[in-house]
Assembly symmetry: C2
Homo-oligomer: 222 residues x 2
DNA sequence: ACCTGAACACCGTTCAAGT
DNA sequence: ACCTGAACACCGTTCAAGT
């Protein structure tokens, strides 16, 4: 180990594109996307705001870069492997990564200039499907339905006002002034299922993923 | 008809919550979500920015209100009807509405305080599933996978940099400096399918919707 | 080559005031 | 009751300058 303090004194390391993007992700993870401003990012890096513009052209480029790093965290399927297992692994990884970076969910699918990690991710999925015998048209169908589900689920999960642990308190608060008569099915749904101890919305992910993969398995590949 | 000019001189009508929200939707439809600021909204209503605060507490409340109006545009399924047809109709309607208001896609599932139209929408879906014999647990599965797909698809569609008409030009521009060797599956996918005349990403919606509804039909309701 | 300081044209929002 | 004017504490970004 040449330098023992590499991880701690990197506030003094020279600014690089990489360091700026990593700091941006840290900031969004801890304080949310709204707290990610050029000024707060500069402060986190102990530098003046204008120093950032020397490494990235503008804030949009920072968001593009950050999205590509997040895409890079998602496991890629192995072309040539069993397609169902490989796509399952990728889907679960995507959900896990987006769980770590909930602020990234709205960014991921809305950026217009994909970076290399994003392209490699798409490449790996398509190559896996083609290697398994899917026609180009069927691969398009499969990818569209799978990705819509994975991202849609991540959006819903990221916006839940509670998790499995905090559900009881949130439930009590919501029910206090909820017009139960106007929404009987919703009330039944909440009181008898969603807010019961043991219910975890996250479990719906595996159900939906299986349903979609079952459907893709049943259909002719060409 | 008591007043012949009701639709045209409503710039002079008194400000109401309703008028503010309608103007906000118009502004976002024509100029995007980024152009929706308190100041631009006030200008569209020919009023000073601070006048808005008399009808809505803050910008967040405007976004909440706008989301609820958009939810209100989505057809609700009829409980007691054939569940598959009813949910299909709702899903198609949701996609159409989100196509009209692409800026709303990122807002719809990320707001924390649902309005009455949002609650009625959820109520109608759950009531339809329950009336068709789905158990509460199965209704939760069905709703989660369907909604994740519908919103996820809308997100993807809203962020496509092209539509069926403009695809050829966009394709040519993208291919000019695309590293085809690094992404062979992606290149094949683009040149032999997605950018071919006649391909419409929107058609993937019907494929995925059918696949999911087929899956739900096959599964026991309880 | 890399960073800074001051400024510009924006934000959402508060507060005190007008009618 | 409803709207306004001026101000505050923020934004992203440009431009000219420092080392």
């Amino acid at each position: 180990m040449p330098t023992r303090s590499a991880p701690t004194d990197d506030r003094r390391a020279p600014l690089t594109r990489e360091r700026v993007l990593r700091a941006a992700i840290d900031l969004a993870d801890t304080a949310g996307l709204g707290a990610l401003t050029m000024r707060s990012l500069a402060q986190a890096l102990e530098v003046q705001p204008m120093a950032l513009y020397h490494h990235l052209p503008n804030k949009d480029a920072i968001l593009d870069g950050v999205v590509d790093l997040v895409f890079g965290e998602i496991d890629r399927p192995e072309p040539g492997g069993a397609w169902r297992e490989e796509l399952e692994r990728r889907a679960r990884s995507a959900r896990r990564v987006l769980g770590r970076h909930p602020w990234a969910v709205v960014l991921l699918e809305s950026r217009r200039s994909p970076g290399p990690a994003t392209l490699q991710s798409h490449e790996a999925v398509l190559a896996t499907l083609r290697a398994a015998g899917f026609s180009v048209a069927m691969a398009a169908h499969a990818y569209a339905v799978l990705d819509a589900f994975v991202y849609g689920f991540a959006v819903q999960e990221a916006s839940l006002p509670f998790n499995a642990d905090t559900a009881p308190e949130v439930a009590a608060a919501m029910m206090r002034d909820f017009p139960v008569d106007a929404y009987p099915a919703l009330t039944e749904f909440a009181t008898e299922h969603v807010f019961r101890p043991g219910y975890d919305f996250g479990d719906e992910f595996e159900y939906g993923l299986d349903l979609i993969l079952d459907g893709l398995e049943r259909v002719p590949l060409a």
